[in-house]
Symmetry: C2
Subunit: 400 residues, 2 copies
């Protein structure tokens, strides 16, 4: 079991091993919560002093995600480096890894590919992985040509830096092309506007010589922000099997170890050359669509990310029970100190788990926490979804 480039799992020493995590937001926090029972320590780096992860991990190095000194210190203090945010700089990660001998997982090269949505799509398409039709767009002329090819309306996406729908601009027709290019403000790609049946996601795992996927999640977005996730997904068995299959192909295209969030569209095969699943985007880290695995699976995506990057055996991904998850988003008009009113409603609900990320500031639609409602075998997942929506709606971070 002793991994040559990891901390090894044959023998657990005290203290450590230490995982250095670039990013100390909610994902870093939940990684810390998952690492504790395993005896794994975390040091995170984040530009925000006292970031959300801080109070549940060993230490924080305060500094930007691409700051050399910060990442260098992190690498020196860690047995393995990883990241919970795509803003981690792959060049700096490569450099500090080489200088210190501390391995980085997943591979910075994979992060580099994923950071650029166009390069990401190319990498998938080159391997024959089904993706929506797309075009590279650098100019208004490119966008108009893409519209001719793909049809209007289409979706214009900034190639870099977008998340939670930021950087995604729907374009109705040629008249909107110039404004859309102004909005993305840089290199972009156009994607056909899909008439999808539902959105799905699969959390995939690459360990040391092993591979696994979690049960398929159905994700529900509004204004391009993930609102709810449920599992099992309400898709036919064959569709779910196809989603797992495509996720396996995506994992093959990745380098290094860790958890990968694989966002998918379920489409009508009659409209898409017989294909029911198209890949939307990949995140080389634990992902919001997998938060339900904390209570819902034998081993969570967070624990499995920790195990994977350390080169330890992966834990079983079996679903223990149907689960529904709802994000607690900042329901405020403007920034204000964060608080959660109505938390008692969540705490009182049998089988509901509250996760409050301890972000200091509530901002409009900012992810501040989540609630997961688990059921028991045979429970209707649609009913669990209604229950978790009710719990979410009973809370607010608006002032009284």
């Amino acid at each position: 079991m002793q991994e040559s480039d990891g901390a090894g799992a044959g023998t657990l020493p005290v203290p450590g091993p230490t995982l250095g995590v670039v990013g100390g937001g909610q994902l870093g926090r939940m990684l810390g919560e998952a690492a504790g029972p395993l005896g794994v320590e975390l040091v995170v780096s984040d530009p925000t002093p006292d970031c959300p992860a801080r109070s549940v991990v060993r230490d924080q190095v305060v500094g930007d995600f691409d700051d050399y000194e910060t990442l260098r210190e992190l690498a020196e203090r860690a047995d393995v480096l990883t990241f919970e945010i795509e803003l981690a700089d792959p060049d700096t990660l490569d450099r500090v890894s080489e200088e210190t001998g501390t391995p980085v997982h997943p591979a910075p090269e994979t992060l580099r590919t994923i950071q650029d949505k166009y390069v990401q799509k190319e990498a998938l398409a080159d391997r024959g992985i089904p993706v929506p039709a797309y075009r590279r767009v650098d100019t208004v002329e490119d966008l108009l040509a893409a519209g001719d090819d793909l049809g209007w309306p289409l979706m214009l996406k900034a190639r870099r830096g977008g998340y939670d729908g930021r950087g995604n601009v729907p374009v109705e027709g040629p008249d909107g092309a110039e404004a859309a290019m102004d909005a993305v403000a840089g290199p972009a790609m156009a994607e056909e506007m899909l008439d999808f049946e539902r959105e799905l996601a699969v959390m995939g795992l690459r360990g040391a010589g092993e591979r696994d996927t979690f049960p398929v999640t159905e994700t529900i977005h509004r204004e391009e922000i993930l609102r709810e996730s449920i599992s099992p997904a309400r898709a036919a068995d064959g569709v779910r099997a196809r989603a797992q299959e495509v996720a396996d192909e995506v994992l093959d295209a990745m380098d290094g170890r860790g958890a990968f969030g694989i966002e998918l569209f379920q489409v009508d095969p009659d409209d898409y050359d017989g294909e029911a699943i198209l890949v939307n985007e990949i995140a080389p880290r634990p992902h919001n669509s997998g938060h339900w695995t904390i209570e819902g699976c034998l081993t969570s995506q967070f624990e499995n990310h920790v195990r994977a990057v350390l080169g330890w055996p992966l834990g079983a991904t079996d679903r223990r029970a149907p689960a529904a998850n709802a994000n607690l988003l900042g329901d405020v008009e403007e920034n204000r100190p964060a608080e959660l009113r109505g938390a008692d409603r969540v705490l009182e609900a049998d089988g509901a788990a509250l996760h409050w990320y301890c972000k200091r500031e509530a901002r409009p639609l900012r992810k501040l926490g989540h609630v997961t409602q688990v059921g028991t075998d045979g429970d209707d997942v649609g009913e669990l979804l209604e229950r978790v929506r009710g719990l979410r709606d009973a809370t607010t971070c608006r002032p009284e």
Copy 2:
């Protein structure tokens, strides 16, 4: 929901609330792991620098469990004070609570009662709660008289300070009385030697105006140290119901909020005046017999202790699946740096959860971690017990 003496759950602020915990061993560590998702911060106090809880909580105050300055600082930094070790000093807790206005849960008075095994037994017996026959023993003469009353052999217990069987001395007959008194070295009590069928335990919860118990646990000791815990307990339904009933009576005898570990003996009612359950001992804190609730129940004993002492709603205690737990004890002849060899065997097992407490030093029979094996509904708990024993036996902290 706003509690007058707690932090209240109607509204969750950021940061905090902060829970001050006297003791930062494995129980403090698991309290910290449970508090994280709720957005609750922990500060622990412990005499050992970098105690096991340290790396998963906000901060540690280094100092003895009865040190005024230490507990005063803890009280100043916390919204609510609690303890994870009976060595916490009730007088000092009362004093710092009064000085700072920070409430303490459970009540120091209850801790005071429980710290003295004779006073504890008296408090239970006075309320008509079934306990083994016992006598106060201050001298060899008292012990000989107790033997006449209770019969030989009997169990001599130091009134204070014993744990994991330390301070418990079986006495075969009058000839052993003097040596036994020397061994306990202080005020003691004698208890009839029970011919019990099995040992059981119930984790009880006292919240703000509510009460609950976890499903009954069967506990298996060897050399008076808990080795394994399983739930459901392999006792008849009526016996389990009686255990819950007795646990409820015990909870009535306690003051303040929190989790209580209630250790029980199951005896043959024909031999004990028709009574199937006798109370052995109570711990006013999360307890080793409830570790399986982390994976086995909807809400763990640790999360429920956090909720209870804060005056928040208690979480559902339902068992999600049969579970078996085995302690990882120091299997060394003498003290040495702790490490866990064979951890990969545990990590590879489906449905097994590893908890490694990060104690620096392995000592003979010291609790260094535990493994919980969960099954699925209908699984035979005896089979789970064999599996978790196999996992435990595959690990060692002996050097190669």
